[in-house]
């Protein structure tokens, strides 16, 4: 029998997304990028809780992560970016641990753009990059750190129709050192709650985001998080708040995450 969350989540994503909006969702990669010579800096803080530990029988685990990313527009259809994660891990019983994960270096090529109306658009991008080698670190997020240089390859699609938007992303990270490969599959629907109609003096908008964020690992682990959220988008910055709850969890090789709280902002320079 389906739990209520299993009924509501896909309907919510589809309901918001069937007619769509091109804002970048909180947990899903989008086919958006800064203009030529522009820089987008994004800072995201993530608080993850698990009732399990990394060793059998261990207690609960709390992890705070900071993800800093920078994307620079080289051409109207090509951008380069970098991402650095840092995390503080609190294992009970155990010591606190603060360390950084593997930096990611990414290129994004927007190979399809169809601007249909003043607001409406359809965009698709390819993403390629590398998760750079660093010390292997414990984390509730698979692939947070890797001791090899691992290729990243993916495709993302974004569409906007008036007040609604839809984003879909499929991104794989292929581990070179025998760790499991990761395939992230995400879908996000967005709805502009305010203003109902844009005007010449519109300075900002409020958006409701509903996402399904999936992660399949080649060791057989598979999880999907249901992620409702709220975004405030001004002309030069965006604030974002989201909660991630397990929607599907078939995880045997790492602690299951019970919930994640996400708080972030983006600045366009």
């Amino acid at each position: 029998m389906l739990r209520p969350l299993h009924r509501i989540a896909p309907l919510a994503v589809l309901g918001l997304g069937t007619v769509a909006i091109a804002q970048e969702p909180i947990n899903t990669t989008a086919a958006t990028q800064p203009g030529v010579g522009r820089l987008v800096i994004r800072e995201q803080f993530r608080w993850l809780e698990s009732n399990e530990g990394f060793e059998p029988g261990a207690g609960e685990t709390t992890e705070f992560q900071s993800w800093t990313s920078v994307f620079y527009g080289l051409r109207h259809d090509f951008a380069l970016g970098a991402e650095l994660p840092i995390r503080a891990l609190d294992i009970s019983p155990g010591d606190d641990d603060l360390d950084h994960g593997s930096p990611r270096f990414l290129a994004k090529w927007r190979f399809h753009r169809a601007d249909l109306e003043a607001l409406d658009t359809e965009r698709a991008s390819l993403i390629a990059g590398v998760r750079a080698e660093t010390d292997d670190e414990l984390s509730l997020t698979p692939g947070f750190a890797s001791d090899s240089n691992d290729p990243i390859l993916g495709a993302v699609y974004t569409t906007v129709r008036g007040r609604r938007g839809f984003n879909g992303a499929l991104v794989g990270t292929f581990a070179s050192d025998g760790d499991p490969d990761e395939i992230r599959y995400d879908a996000a629907g967005l709805y502009r709650m305010s203003p109902e109609v844009f005007a010449a003096d519109t300075e900002a908008g409020w958006y409701l985001a509903v996402e399904l964020n999936g992660l399949y690992e080649s060791n057989g682990d598979n999880e999907v998080m249901f992620s409702p959220g709220l975004m405030y988008e001004a002309r030069r910055w965006t604030g974002e708040l989201s909660v991630q709850l397990p929607f599907l969890s078939e995880v045997d090789h790492r602690p299951e995450v019970d919930w994640t709280l996400v708080l972030g902002f983006r600045i366009l320079l």
Binding site: I21, A22, Q23, Q33, P34, G35, V36, G37, R38, G73, L74, R75, H76, D77, F78, A107, W109, R110, F111, R113, D115, L116, E117, A118, L119, D120, T121, L126, A128, G129, V130, N149, P151, L153, V160, G165, S176, V197, F198, A199, A200, T202, E203, A204, G205, E233, A234, R235, R236, T238, R266, L268
Partner: protein
């Protein structure tokens, strides 16, 4: 594996370079405008953040005093300073294109 990623990135860059969203002929006029301002018709302005991409690009052109973007209508009003040279239709169109949007018309006013 060592060579896979550089090859992949080079391929992406080559693909990007080979892709041209050519501007319509009417927007390729490189003659500086002589009017006090211009109205641009733009498509795909899906969010306030997107509008800022255009704002900043147009404001960087010579003798542009003010830029106003109406997201709902897709009309971008550009005010020029009372000085020369004013931007050409090609410069205005290129700035919009480089911001990641489609421009369909530039009208002096």
């Amino acid at each position: 594996m060592r060579f896979l990623l550089p090859c992949l990135l080079a391929t992406l860059a080559a693909c990007a370079s080979a892709t041209h969203h050519d501007l319509p002929d009417a927007l390729k006029d490189a003659t500086p405008m002589t009017t006090k301002g211009a109205t641009l018709t733009v498509l795909g302005l899906s969010c306030p953040n997107c509008a800022t991409n255009i704002d900043l690009s147009l404001a960087a052109l010579p003798n542009v005093q003010d830029v106003s973007v109406n997201l709902d209508t897709g009309l971008v009003e550009v005010e020029f300073r009372d000085a020369d040279p004013k931007p050409s239709p090609l410069q205005l169109a290129t700035a919009v294109r480089n911001s990641g949007f489609t421009i369909v018309a530039v009208k002096g006013r």
